[in-house]
Amino acid sequence: MSDARLRRVNKEIADCKNDKSSNINIELIDNSPFHLLGSFDGPQDTPYDGGHFEVDIVIPDSYPFQPVKMKFITKVYHPNVSSASGAICLDILKDAWSPVLTLKSTLISLQSLLCSPEPNDPQDAEVAKHYMTSRTSFEDTARYWTHVYAGGPAPTSATPGGAVPGKASVAVRDEVAIAGLNKAHVDQFEAIGFERSKVIDVLRRLNYRGANISKIPDDKVVEELLKA
């Protein structure tokens, strides 16, 4: 009955091609219909807006009775996606899979996952922690990744000067911005003689921003910097 699997997958690919409204694409990667490339646009009003995301799809032997295997090819900064491997933590790809789901509906679920992260069930614990500790900083990073890896627009909030002089300086400036820190603060501690990356790490860890700054004495920062 592997014919049934082939028939179903072929129907699903055709169905996706015919359906222009969902904006979900499925293509063959090699000549096998069991290894596919899915893609969709990042959802609006999220840090993924403007990006185009590609997903590697492998159809298991007993599909649709076993969940389809999916992982992001495009790097995504999201609590439920491994920032290194693209592995996805989503219940329907595991124990909540149902044969009534299709490739299209699963890709739509991935798209919705980008809208609503589940930081309590993370795939990437570090990203999840970033999401929970500082939402703005998390979103800046996610937006930056969308720009760099998914072809999204250049993040404007991270470049308050307006014009972008060059890629290298964007990265340097963004390092402070996406950490949600103030450049002046980073410069201040760097001037004492600490490595810039350490300063950024420590200030982020201390949540050195906004109203917090007045509560964190400079010597506490220095103490942490010496430990780092």
């Binding site: 049934a4 007993s62 491994s82 592995a87 009534v100 970033h130 790490d201």
Partner: protein, 324 residues
């Protein structure tokens, strides 16, 4: 697989905040380990991978055990299994035999046993009906009339067609020779069993039964919602949530609500013999779900042992193929 987009190759790698140095450290195990050997410390595996390992073990232990649907066996075989144990179970078997139930057809305990058993018993009942032509036509018309409800429940049209095909063809082939298969002959009991023992075909049937159940619940929320509870946690659940998590996922057991819903969808009487060893006198309670248009119609009878359903039969051995 590795894919490299040349347009991003020249860009600097995105700076990555070292969030592991932030307060409140959490489990950093997120990356899958490719090679697992005897020496692998399983505590180093990410949760998702550990889950998959466990699941694979569970799957393999289930699949190697019993067929998805077994041949009919005399109830005395079941009696022999219980003879060393509790007397009340043996008494209950004797009770069932005294009521004319001679056989049991076991199904694999994979969480789909209710749906698979009910589907088999439902189709076999049409096969064994005095006027099987009418029984088959009635069944097809009930199912056809239900199809729009599957669409209303939000299932993909292609998925509906695909899952309906196997049960429909089986029921049709009771009456009309199926030119596509079976050498142009009508269905035999052995072939019916064969279909239910084939992983893919059998699972398509289970999937169709689950879809019927889900659509029945989704289409009548006021009737079912008060009774929808999480099978493990006992918490109240919404209709959509319940159907997606408990009904539509393979391997999730059926409880009273699902039995009621599918009996209603199939318009069939279902009786379930509770074989739980509780009654000291050995009486067996038959819980009845009478949803057939004719309430006196003989029910499809299943036997329930806590956590598992099989089919209860008045015959003790497989019928011989009469139409060969």
């Amino acid at each position: 697989m590795e894919r490299e987009d040349p347009s991003i190759r020249d860009l600097p790698s995105a700076p990555r905040p070292r969030a592991h140095e932030l307060p409140d450290p959490q489990d950093p195990r997120t990356e899958w380990i490719n090679e697992i050997t005897e020496d692998t410390d399983i505590t180093s595996l990410p949760t998702a991978q550990l889950y998959e390992l466990n699941q694979n073990l569970l799957d393999s232990s289930i699949s190697s055990a019993t067929p998805l649907m077994a041949e009919l066996a005399p109830l005395t075989v079941l009696r022999a299994e219980y003879e060393g144990g509790s007397d009340s179970f043996v008494k209950q078997i004797d009770f069932l035999i005294s009521k004319g139930y001679e056989g049991i057809r076991r199904s694999r305990g994979d969480g789909d046993c209710f749906y698979r058993s009910l589907a088999f018993a439902y189709i076999e009942r049409i096969f064994n009906a005095e006027d099987w032509g009418i029984a088959a036509a009635k069944s097809i018309s009930t199912l056809e009339a239900f199809l729009p409800k599957l669409h209303e429940a939000g299932f993909d049209g292609m998925v509906i067609d695909e899952s309906y095909e196997i049960p429909r063809d089986l029921i049709r082939s009771i009456v009309e020779p199926n030119p596509g298969s079976n050498n142009g002959q009508t269905l035999t009991p052995a072939q019916l069993l064969e279909v239910f023992q084939n992983d893919s075909q059998s699972n398509y049937i289970v999937m169709f039964m689950r879809m019927l159940t889900s659509a029945q619940i989704r289409g009548n929320p006021e009737e079912y919602e008060p009774f929808l509870t999480h099978p493990d946690l006992g918490e109240q659940m919404g209709v959509k949530e319940f159907c997606e998590a408990v009904v539509e996922v393979l391997g999730r057991e059926a409880d009273h609500v699902q039995v009621t819903a599918i009996s209603e969808a199939l318009k069939v009487n279902v009786a379930i013999a509770y074989f739980d060893g509780r009654d000291k006198d050995g009486n067996v309670e038959f819980v009845k779900f009478n949803k057939a248009i004719d309430p006196s119609e003989a029910p499809v009878t299943l036997i329930y042992r806590p956590g598992h359903y099989d089919i209860l039969d008045r015959r003790s051995i497989e019928a011989l193929p009469f139409n060969m």
